[in-house]
């Protein structure tokens, strides 16, 4: 894949594969392009070059007669139902209650019945420890609670791929634990493929199968967490890790 904003190229000749069920953490200094990768996969940014495939199927662009053509937006939207994303700023819809936030897309995108969606939403809320908050407005919840609702909302779409973009960065330190606990639970009990951008190195070490160190839009090095954290090959990785730990 390739991505540029105007004349600034953020990602160039980047090529990587994530296996089904694999949990990959992207680390690196800010501006290294790791969040951009998640945003490209979620189709929040336009891919300016190259292709993204989900389970072998093209996401936004495909090759036709040797030319790179954009897929119809409906096709892309059908593909994105398989991908969920949780944001740094939660981005819950303030005009809906917690429950409405969760059931909106399952009902109107996946065509589930309201009863099914509500039952599923309640069990997810239970899972994230917020069963009693279903009828609250998101603005009445703490940051940590909002983020757990956002996780439940993403899971309600039964995604095959979950993108987590610095999901604890906007939280007060004492609320981080709850959110990480929920994510750890998801990692242990489901086989959802995860792509994480995080500064929580301990967490990354615990849940991920693979860590990719980015710098300047390139993969500097990658490997199992133990290798990257204990025995980084690159000087750049070493200085980065010592600056965040």
């Amino acid at each position: 894949m390739e991505k540029s904003f105007g004349k600034t190229t953020v990602l160039k000749d980047l090529n990587f594969t994530v296996a089904p069920g694999e949990r990959v953490t992207l680390i690196g200094p800010s501006g290294s392009g790791k969040t951009t990768i998640l945003r490209l996969v979620m189709t929040l940014e336009e891919l300016t070059g190259g292709y993204i495939f989900v389970d072998g199927e093209p996401l936004t662009h495909t090759e036709k007669n040797g030319k790179r053509v954009e897929l119809p937006s409906k096709t892309t939207r059908a593909m994105t139902t398989r991908i969920g994303m949780v944001f740094q700023q939660f981005n819950l819809f303030p005009n809906m209650t917690v429950l409405e936030n969760i059931i909106e897309a399952p009902i109107h995108v996946l065509g589930r019945s309201k009863a099914d969606a509500v039952a599923e939403a309640k069990s997810l809320l239970d899972k994230v420890g917020l069963a009693d908050k279903a009828d609250e407005h998101p603005t009445r919840l703490s940051g940590g609670q909002q983020q757990r609702v956002a996780i439940a909302r993403a899971l309600a779409m039964s995604p095959e791929i979950l993108l987590l973009d610095e999901v604890t960065s906007a939280l007060d330190p004492e609320l981080v634990g709850d959110v990480l606990g929920v994510l750890r639970d998801i990692a242990e009990t489901t086989d959802i493929t995860m792509l994480l951008v995080t500064h929580e190195m301990q967490f990354a070490r615990e849940v991920s199968h693979r860590v990719m160190m980015f710098d300047g839009g390139q993969v500097l090095e990658e490997g199992p967490p133990d290798q990257i954290f204990n025995n980084p090959q690159h000087e750049r990785t070493r200085t980065f890790l010592s600056s965040v730990q």
């Binding site: 994105t80 944001f87 700023q89 603005t139 779409m157």
Partner: protein, 263 residues
């Protein structure tokens, strides 16, 4: 003065007729304004040029030409083109187009002001563009646009006075008649001011109500609302009480000290 009051009382039925015309123009004009504003405002936020550019041209055209000339066009020029409209329709049409163009800009900018994270979350949930707008973006933009719309609708009320030029007898016209029959310019125009002011005030109250509802649906209150200030005072009182409690002798009695004689 008593003569004036008598004349006023006698001309009340006519004044009421004028008020009715003004109200019909204001209400129908406001509805037309909001419909046109939403259509043009949404079109102006479209990523497609074929929607955005014509909408932008229509808005600039109706904002950039005078309301009076637009009314004259509908009333005097349209019949020459074979389209006869009655004066009331001309008034409502011109008011809707003119204020709708201004309001479209309010709709557009409010939609653009909604946090980009809301769009992104809606895309991440694969909501269709229509669903995104109707369920997520517009309800939030609506709360933002109401204060500016209130101002424009009050402007519209005052703008209704120009229909006087196309043979409609509205409040302004009746006030003129009152002035002629009383011969008292100050009195007649003061009555006019008061009546316009009362209608404007009613519009403002209605829009305040809508704004309260819209912000409540977003789970928050209007910034610096009365209930916000009340809550701040309550917090301040609780705070000072806590401090007062802390400075007195701690122990089981400190609660009583804090509450003072009220217990």
């Amino acid at each position: 003065m008593t003569d004036n009051v008598t004349t006023l009382l006698n001309s009340l039925p006519q004044l009421w007729e004028g008020i009715q015309t003004t109200l019909i123009l204001t209400i129908a004009g406001s509805i037309g304004t909001i419909i046109i504003a939403i259509i043009l405002g949404l079109a102006m936020t479209s990523p497609h040029g074929w929607m955005r550019i014509p909408a932008r041209i229509i808005v600039e055209f109706f904002r950039g030409t005078s309301l009076l000339v637009q009314i004259f066009w509908l009333f005097y020029v349209f019949p020459l083109l074979g389209v006869e409209l009655d004066p009331l329709m001309c008034g409502i049409g011109a008011l809707s187009l003119n204020y709708g163009a201004y309001s479209a800009e309010v709709v557009r900018s409010s939609i653009k002001t909604v946090n980009p994270g809301q769009w992104e979350a809606a895309i991440a949930l694969s909501l269709s563009p229509a669903r995104r707008m109707i369920r997520v973006i517009f309800p939030q933009a609506w709360a933002l646009m109401i204060p500016s719309l209130a101002t424009l609708l009050i402007q519209l009320l005052k703008g209704t006075a120009v229909v006087f030029f196309i043979t409609l007898s509205d409040l302004t016209d009746k006030i003129q008649q009152l002035r002629q029959s009383t011969g008292d310019t100050v009195f007649a125009f003061t009555v006019g001011l008061v009546i316009y002011f009362v209608i404007a005030w009613l519009i403002q109250e209605l829009m305040n109500l809508l704004e309260r509802q819209a912000t409540k649906r977003l789970g928050r209150r209007r910034p610096n609302s009365r209930s916000d200030r009340r809550e701040a005072r309550r917090d301040a009182r609780a705070e000072s009480k806590r401090e007062a409690g802390a400075t007195t002798v701690p122990g089981p009695s400190s609660g009583n000290v804090g509450y003072g004689g009220a217990l």
